[in-house]
C-alpha cells in the first residue's frame, strides 16, 4: 500500500470520503459539517465533493440527530454522526444507550443499527469543563456499543473504516489535540480490526497501557525513560469495547510492572477495568509491583492553562510514575 504523511483529521476525512465513494448508503450528519467544514475542520471539503444531502448540516439538536441516525440505520443507511464535542453526547444519551445499543438485541435480531458516532474528546484547548471531558468509560460500559479511540492518524482511518463496515453501532472517540498531528497513512482503504490492542513498542522493565492522547505522551515519556535506563513497553488499548486481554496479559507477564494511563478521572474510569482484568487474570502472579493507575484528577476540566495541565497526566507525570514503579519495586 502507498503511504503518505497526513494528519489525523485528514485521515478521518479520507476514510469518510472513500467509504462514501464506495457505498451510496454512507452519509454524514452533524452540526456545521457542511460549508463550515466542521468545528475541528474534519469534514473539510467533503461538502463540496458530496453535496448537502450526504454531508448533511443539522440544527443544534443532538438527540434528534442521533435518533435520525438510528432510524436511517434501521432501514439500510450507514449514517456517520458527528457530535461537535463528546460532552454533547449527554444530550443524545437516550438514543445512544437506550435505543442504538439495545434495539438489535431487544427485537430479537430482526434489524440492526449500523451507525457510527464520532466525537472529539479530551482537554487541552482551554475550552473548560463542558467541552473537554473524556467519557469513554460511559460508552464502554454499555452492552451493544463498540467503542474505539484512535491515538494516531493510521488508526484513525483504519478504525473508522472498520466502524463503518460494522453492522453495529460504533462510538469513535477522537481526540481534539490529535487532529493536527501527522503520521503515515496508507492511501487505500483498510481496516484496523475492532477488538485488538496495539503493541506500540516493546520494553523490558514495565508496560505502559494508555488510551487516546496519552499514547503519544507515553511514547514521549518512554524516550525520556530510556535515557534514565528504563525500558518501557507501550500498549495502545485502541478498541475499548470489545477488549481482548491477550496482548496486555502477555506483556504484563513479561515485564511484571504495569502503569495504566488515561486522561479521564480515575474513579470508575476505563483503566479500572484493565486493572481489574489484570488482577483477575493469568498475569496477576507475575506482577512484581502493585498495578498503578495514572489518571486525570477528580475534577471538572478547568479553563486556565496551568490548571488544565495540572488536571490530566503530562509527559513528566508519566516519567515520574514509571520511574517510581520500576525503582521502588
Amino acid at each position: 500500500m502507498t503511504s503518505r504523511i497526513i494528519t489525523y483529521a485528514e485521515a478521518i476525512r479520507e476514510a469518510i470520503g472513500q467509504a462514501m465513494e464506495s457505498d451510496p448508503n454512507v452519509f454524514m450528519l452533524g452540526e456545521d459539517i457542511g460549508i463550515y467544514g466542521g468545528a475541528f475542520g474534519v469534514s473539510g471539503d467533503l461538502f463540496h465533493r458530496f453535496g448537502p444531502e450526504r454531508i448533511r448540516d443539522t440544527p443544534i439538536s443532538e438527540l434528534g440527530i442521533v435518533g435520525a441516525a438510528v432510524g436511517a440505520a434501521l432501514v439500510g443507511m450507514k449514517p456517520i454522526v458527528e457530535i461537535q464535542f463528546s460532552d454533547f453526547t449527554a444530550q443524545a444519551m437516550d438514543q445512544i444507550v437506550n435505543q442504538a445499543a439495545k434495539i438489535h438485541f431487544m427485537i430479537g435480531g430482526q434489524l440492526s443499527v449500523p451507525m457510527v458516532l464520532r466525537a472529539p474528546s479530551g482537554s487541552g484547548t482551554g475550552a473548560a469543563a463542558q467541552h473537554s471531558q473524556s467519557l469513554e468509560a460511559w460508552f464502554a460500559h454499555i452492552p451493544g456499543l463498540k467503542v474505539v479511540m484512535p491515538s494516531n492518524a493510521r488508526d484513525a482511518k483504519g478504525l473508522l473504516l472498520a466502524a463503518i463496515a460494522d453492522p453495529n453501532p460504533v462510538i469513535v472517540l477522537e481526540h481534539k489535540l490529535l487532529y493536527k498531528t501527522s503520521g503515515e497513512v496508507p492511501e487505500e482503504m483498510y481496516m484496523t480490526p475492532i477488538g485488538v490492542p496495539d503493541l506500540v513498542q516493546e520494553g523490558t522493565d514495565l508496560v505502559i497501557v494508555a488510551t487516546g492522547v496519552m499514547v503519544s505522551r507515553s511514547i514521549e515519556a518512554a524516550h525520556q525513560l530510556k535515557e534514565h535506563g528504563i525500558s518501557a513497553s507501550i500498549i495502545d488499548v485502541r478498541t475499548l469495547s470489545p477488549l481482548d486481554m491477550t496482548l496486555i496479559n502477555q506483556v504484563v507477564s513479561a515485564t511484571g510492572r504495569v502503569l495504566l494511563v488515561q486522561e479521564a478521572p480515575k474513579h470508575v474510569g476505563y483503566m479500572a477495568e484493565i486493572a481489574a482484568r489484570i488482577a483477575e487474570g493469568p498475569s496477576w502472579k507475575q506482577l512484581k509491583a502493585p498495578i498503578k493507575r495514572l489518571c486525570g484528577l477528580e475534577i471538572p476540566i478547568p479553563y486556565a492553562p496551568q490548571l488544565e495541565q495540572a488536571a490530566v497526566p503530562q509527559v513528566a507525570d508519566i516519567v515520574k510514575h514509571a520511574t517510581q514503579l520500576v525503582k521502588e519495586n
Binding site: I65, G67, A68, M77, A165
Partner: protein
C-alpha cells in the same frame, strides 16, 4: 400465522363507504380489542410477566391510520403499541408468544410488550421510552428520501410524549428536510396520571405544529373514518414531497395506564362518558346504518376474531420458552 386481513383504505371516500374496507377495519378493531382483553385476562391470572399498557378504547386510531398506509410503509410505535402492531399486519400468535416469553415471539422473549417490532410489516418497533420513536421515525423517513423511495413513515406517540425534547427536535428536523413522515399523536388526555390540561397550555396538541411551520390537524380519534381521512391526506402529502403533518387523534384509554394504576387522577364518570363513545360500537352502528355491513357479518367476524385470539394463545403457550443460551450472541450482529 394469524394476521388480520390487510387494511384497505379507499382512495377516495370513507372506509365506511366500502364494504371490503369496512370489513377489514372492523376486523382490525375487533382483533385489537380481543387481543388486549386476552392479555388483560392473562395478566390477571398471573400467566404474564412484566408490565403492559393496553389500548382498549383507542382501536380506531391504530386502525384508521394503518388503513392509510401500504404494506411497505413503516411505523414506529410506543409502549402502548399492540394495536399499531396488529393494524400494521403483525402475526398475533408471535405477539402473544412474545408476551408469554417464548422463543417464537417477535423478540425471542427478549423484548416483551414494550419492544415488539416486526420487520416484515414495516413496524420498526414499540418503544419503552416515551417519545423515543419519534426521532427514529424522522431518520427512517430521511432514509426513504435519500434512497429515492416512496415509502412513508408514521410515528405514533401519546399526548404526554409531546412534552419531551425528542418530539421537538424530531419534528423540527422533519419539517426543515420535508421528510415523508406523518406524526400521529394519540391524545388520550393523560400521560400516565398527568392530564393534558395540567401538562400543557395549548388547547389542541395540533397547535404545536405551528412551531415547526407544518400543518397540524385534530380529528376525532374514535372515528375510524375521520382518522383515516386525515391520515390519507397527510400520507399523500408526505409521499409527494410535501413534508410532515402532525395529526392529533383525540381518544381515551379505558384501562389504567398499566397494571399498577388505581385511576385516582380521573373520575368514573369521565371513564364512563368515554366508554359510551366506544369506537367499535360506533363504527359498527355506522356501517349498519349505511347498510355496508350486516349484523350477521359482524357476529361472524366477532366470533372469528375471538377464535383467532384463542388460537394464538394456545399456539403461543405450546411454543418453547425463550432460550437463555443465545443471550450473549444476541447483542451484536455478526460482522460479515
Amino acid at each position: 400465522m394469524s394476521s388480520i386481513t390487510p387494511l384497505i383504505g379507499p382512495e377516495s371516500g370513507l372506509i365506511s363507504d366500502s364494504k371490503p374496507a369496512a370489513l377489514a377495519a372492523l376486523e382490525s378493531l375487533l382483533s385489537i380489542r380481543s387481543f388486549e382483553e386476552a392479555v388483560d385476562a392473562l395478566f390477571a391470572r398471573g400467566l404474564m410477566h412484566g408490565t403492559m399498557h393496553l389500548s382498549i378504547g383507542q382501536e380506531a386510531s391504530a386502525t384508521g391510520v394503518c388503513a392509510a398506509l401500504t404494506s411497505t410503509d413503516y411505523i414506529t410505535s410506543t409502549h402502548r403499541g399492540h394495536g399499531h402492531c396488529i393494524a400494521k399486519g403483525a402475526d398475533i400468535t408471535r405477539m402473544m408468544a412474545e408476551l408469554l416469553a417464548k422463543q417464537t415471539g417477535y423478540c425471542r422473549g427478549r423484548g416483551g410488550s414494550m419492544h415488539i417490532a416486526d420487520a416484515a410489516t414495516g413496524n420498526l418497533g414499540a418503544n419503552g421510552i416515551v417519545a423515543g420513536g419519534i426521532p427514529i421515525a424522522a431518520g427512517a423517513a430521511l432514509a426513504q428520501k435519500m434512497q429515492g423511495k416512496k415509502e412513508v413513515i408514521v410515528s405514533f406517540f401519546g399526548d404526554g410524549a409531546t412534552n419531551e425534547g425528542a418530539f421537538h427536535e424530531a419534528l423540527n428536523l422533519s419539517a426543515i428536510w420535508d421528510l415523508p413522515v406523518v406524526f400521529v399523536c394519540e391524545d388520550n388526555k393523560y400521560g400516565m396520571s398527568n392530564s393534558t390540561e395540567k401538562s400543557m397550555r395549548v388547547e389542541k396538541i395540533s397547535e404545536r405544529a405551528a412551531a415547526y411551520g407544518i400543518e397540524g390537524v385534530t380529528v376525532d380519534g374514535n372515528d375510524v373514518d375521520a382518522v383515516f381521512a386525515a391520515t390519507r391526506t397527510a400520507v399523500a402529502k408526505a409521499r409527494t414531497g410535501g413534508g410532515p403533518t402532525l395529526v392529533e387523534a383525540e381518544t381515551y384509554r379505558w384501562k389504567g395506564h398499566s397494571k399498577s394504576d388505581k385511576n385516582l387522577y380521573r373520575s368514573k364518570e369521565e371513564i364512563d362518558e368515554w366508554k359510551a363513545k366506544d369506537p367499535i360500537e360506533r363504527f359498527q352502528n355506522l356501517c349498519l346504518t349505511k347498510n355496508i355491513i350486516t349484523q350477521a357479518e359482524i357476529d361472524e367476524l366477532t366470533a372469528r376474531v375471538r377464535e383467532v385470539t384463542r388460537g394464538a394463545i394456545k399456539d403461543a403457550m405450546a411454543a418453547p420458552d425463550s432460550n437463555p443460551d443465545e443471550l450473549l450472541s444476541g447483542v451484536f450482529k455478526a460482522v460479515s
